[in-house]
Amino acid sequence: MFYSILYPRREQHEQPRLETEPDYFGDLNLDQIFQPILTEEKGFGLKEKKTVGLESFFYTPLQDIEAITYRQEVMRELEDENLRAVFNGFAYTVYGIQMFVGMVHDALTSLQRWRDNYITRGQLLDCVERYIAAVDGLCAALAGMNLRSDGLKGFAGYLKDYAASDAFTAMRSRAKKLREQLSTVEYCMLIKHGVIRVRRYEGQADRAKDILAIFSKFSQGQTRDFKFHVTDESRDMRMEAIVLNMVAAYYKDIFADLDKFCEKYYNFIDETVSRFAREIQFYLSWLDYIAPLRQNGLQFCYPTIKNDARALYCRAGFDLALAYRTRGEPGAIVPNDFELNAPERILVITGPNQGGKTTFARAFGQMHHLASLGLCVPGREAALYLFDTILTHFEREEDINTLNGKLQDDLVRLRELLVRATSRSIVIINEIFVSTTLTDALTLGTRMMDALAAKNVIAVVVTFLDELATHGPETVSMMTTVDPEDPARRLFKIIRKPPDGLAYAMFLSSKHGLTYEQLSGRLKKK
């Protein structure tokens, strides 16, 4: 029996999920990647968490290839634009109804007694009608489709049975009848000082029409149509309800029906349908998010998930946070490949700064997390590792509060990292030991490589220490590349290559006018 579009089995859905971002989110810019999905603009640059509550699904890596495959299949099927539009509309409608029903429930159970009134009940009837229309509409849309994925096929079958069930059919006909009755009500108000009086409508003539009829003969042919505009929004709901209550006294039967209807259909939304409407947005929001990048030629793929690390690779991967920020403009993003064939387990990235080393390391971590969620990931094709956790070590700013030195902080964090790491872990280390002397950095860096190799982790190490790139059979040396014609120009291509010890700092320095000659000249001019 179908339960969730995100997990093949109910037990998996009931496993606890992470409610807060994993530690590595910030370092890998995964927080930036998901931000547009999980928050929305509130105007004035304010962002607010979306109320749909999908966070935990984006935070929690799956540990099970079957579940990942279930999601990959659903998402592949949703690549079809027409199908996506159908589910998008449904999810949006059901979400809106749920929000509104929440307010109605609040009012019906409010301590302010007056809020439990016929206006509120009328709103509930409205919600029921919209829900019925949404379910019937989706059933009709799905009827002619030939769905393939277990997830979507399962849901379509469930929905068909539900819409044809006795309970749903009864609700549909009762709502229709009640609406017909309510449309026959007509009444009059008498307002004097602070007094309003109400009666049934008894055929009284339309004063405005009569007056117009009396005076229209005076018209000199002026075409200007003068009208005061009064908005509806400032309506006092409390007064509105009091009036309607008076009206109800004249139509006791109809309003008794409304009461009964509301009692019966207080909770009218099916739980599985509601869960689907919420969870399908996991896929829809992701596909929406990457759509503009694909339009600009960036590729996404459904990676093979590997239980062992004998042959991992990705072709044309890229940093998604960076790509999203540059809107995937042609040329802004340089895709890169990697490959790890046993016994290789550690990628060591060296080379000139600003060549995309950190970006490469982030991309490696990002694609693994994204793949573990069952999403399509940056790249043309990929085989990625089923990891237990990602551990990152990125530089932090010195904080006077800790009264702690930078190197000490580096080492303490590295120790925590190594204690947590297992052979199923992915470790990403970005520029460690930069605050100490070269001698220190080399000794400590080598020890760190020994430890990573001994732990048998999959790792990416970004470093300025060329020596680490030739640590042992488990290391693969990769380097940033520069344009041979103009060494100050970065190509952002990272390739397998032994470290060459050459960096291009002086070119950069001259670019900024900070060589000795340049700077002396600048200062003398003053």
Binding site: N29, E395, T437, L438, T443, A503, L508, H512, G513, R522
Partner: protein, 491 residues
């Protein structure tokens, strides 16, 4: 009516220039903690002290003027704080809401507001009467004399007369003229001459029927509003003038109250505080005793280590030595002292003598900012290049581990070229560095002073910075032993 406590009369128009990159200065030198201590929760003090601190004065004379006023404040802390408290009470006056929509209420509020301001003025006069002979500085003496000259008994008597007459907004005297269609216009509120009631008592009258005459009552209400609108405006305007006066007085006093607060706090911690001696801008001499990081002392709430120095004819100071040895702290203490000295503040030291500098600049190592497009070295170079656009001969530049975002060989080369160009062109540089190759490039140069974080035989750090040339030995082993070996973790 103006007070001249921050600048001598006539000089207030030409304030010293605001520091370049103030945010970097404040965060790298931890100035916020100092300002927070000076200000407590008082934003006016914070702003006044921040503004002073970031506008280093360029003449010994101007600095002495402020030091003299400050010394006077330190002799008379009670009177200074009292005057500040009086001026600060103006804050509470904004509860008197003045708006055009409910004019009768606004009228009453404006009267009440003027009453309060008058009371504040009386309080000020009282302080001036009592304390005028205790003050000796030009700034405070002039202020006291001005208060007594302007706030006379006659002034207060006139104000009181008006305020008494306007007590009741329902009892007003108004003149008007006839405008188009003989409608009344030009409403003018009039004062009631003595004995007017006798004259008015017997004139013809019409009574509105309060039971049925809602429209009539409404008409009376509108007439009254027209009558009082001009007067209400004038009173509002007057209140704004008074608010401005008290704000001026408050911000002139705020800096000195801040200095009193800071001095009190540091003395309470047992840390020395002194008024520094400033040398002319062309001097290359520095000398201090017990110079410490004021913000560190405030953070820890206990005494911290101070440093001594005597240097003559130096333009480059290279500070090396153990991690966590107090190098950054030393650099901060100097930056703070330089800025504090040049705005007339007391300095966290037993004594402090330094030349006037055209500006204080900082180039501290930064965390990798989270825009990934530009690398860290590029960021450092960009920042240095911008600084180079703004500094010139006579400036002081504090460098903290600059160019350590690339490897030691490259970092040393860049750092050497930049530093050499700067000192040769009259910039004074203090450079904390781990770049051994860079640090040793100036050995033997008579204008370079080497300093080193002290480390005792037993590996303990004393946080003292003493003259000394760079050592190549690294201290990473210490930390490795402590963090890994002693915790039983292998790496």
């Amino acid at each position: 009516m103006r007070a001249y406590l921050m600048y001598q009369e006539g000089r207030e128009q030409t304030k010293p220039a605001f520091s370049y990159a103030p945010d970097a200065l404040e965060s790298d030198l931890e100035l916020q903690r100092i300002l927070k201590c000076m200000a407590g929760d008082d934003k006016t003090i914070y702003d006044a002290c921040e503004d002073a601190l970031l506008r280093p004065m360029q003449s010994v004379e101007a600095i002495l003027y402020r030091q003299t006023v400050l010394r006077d404040a330190m002799q008379n802390p009670e009177a200074v704080r009292r005057m500040y408290a009086i001026a600060a009470a103006a804050d509470q006056n904004n509860k008197y809401f003045l708006s055009a929509t409910r004019l009768a209420e606004t009228f009453a509020n404006a009267v009440e507001l003027l009453k309060r301001y008058t009371k504040m003025l009386r309080d000020l006069r009282e302080v001036a009467d009592r304390k005028i002979s205790d003050f000796t500085s030009e700034g405070f003496k002039n202020l006291m004399e001005m208060l007594r000259r302007e706030l006379t008994d006659e002034f207060f008597a006139q104000v009181q007369e008006h305020l008494t007459e306007m007590r009741d907004v329902d009892n007003i005297l108004v003149s008007a003229r006839l405008g188009s269609n003989l409608l009344s216009t030009d409403y003018t509120l009039r004062r009631k001459e003595k004995g007017f009631w006798l004259k008015w008592n017997l004139t013809p009258s019409y009574s509105v029927n309060a039971e049925k005459g809602a429209e009539e009552l409404e008409d009376i209400r509108k007439r009254r509003e027209r009558a009082i609108s001009e007067t209400t405006s004038v009173m509002t305007q007057s209140a704004m003038f008074l608010e401005g006066f008290f704000n001026m007085l408050r911000s002139e006093l705020a800096f000195y109250v801040g200095c009193l607060n800071l001095t009190d706090k540091l003395r309470e911690l047992g840390m020395p505080v002194c008024l520094p001696s400033l040398l002319p801008a062309d001097s290359m001499d520095r000398s201090w005793r017990g110079l410490y990081d004021v913000s560190l002392a405030l953070t820890k709430g206990e005494p911290v280590v101070g440093n001594d120095l005597d240097a003559a004819g130096k333009c480059l100071y290279i500070i090396t030595g153990a991690n966590q040895g107090g190098k950054s702290t030393f650099l901060r203490s100097l930056g703070q002292a330089q800025l504090m000295a040049q705005c007339g503040m007391p300095v966290g030291a037993e004594s402090f003598t330094a030349p006037i500098r055209s500006g204080v600049f900082v180039h501290f190592k930064r965390e990798e900012e989270n825009w990934m497009k530009s690398g860290r070295l590029d960021e450092e170079l960009t920042r240095m290049s911008r600084i180079a656009d703004h500094l010139g001969a006579g400036a002081l530049l504090l460098m903290n581990e600059s160019f350590s975002s690339t490897n030691e060989r490259e970092g040393s080369e860049i750092c050497h070229q930049v530093t050499k160009a700067l000192v040769e062109n009259g910039v004074e540089v203090f450079s904390v560095t781990h770049l051994y190759a860079f640090a040793t490039r100036f050995l033997g140069d008579s204008r370079t002073q080497y300093l080193r974080a002290q480390r005792r035989e037993d590996s303990q750090r004393t946080f003292k910075i003493l003259p000394g040339e760079p050592l190549e030995t690294a201290y990473g082993e210490d930390l490795y032993r402590k963090i890994f070996v002693e915790q039983g973790v292998t790496m």
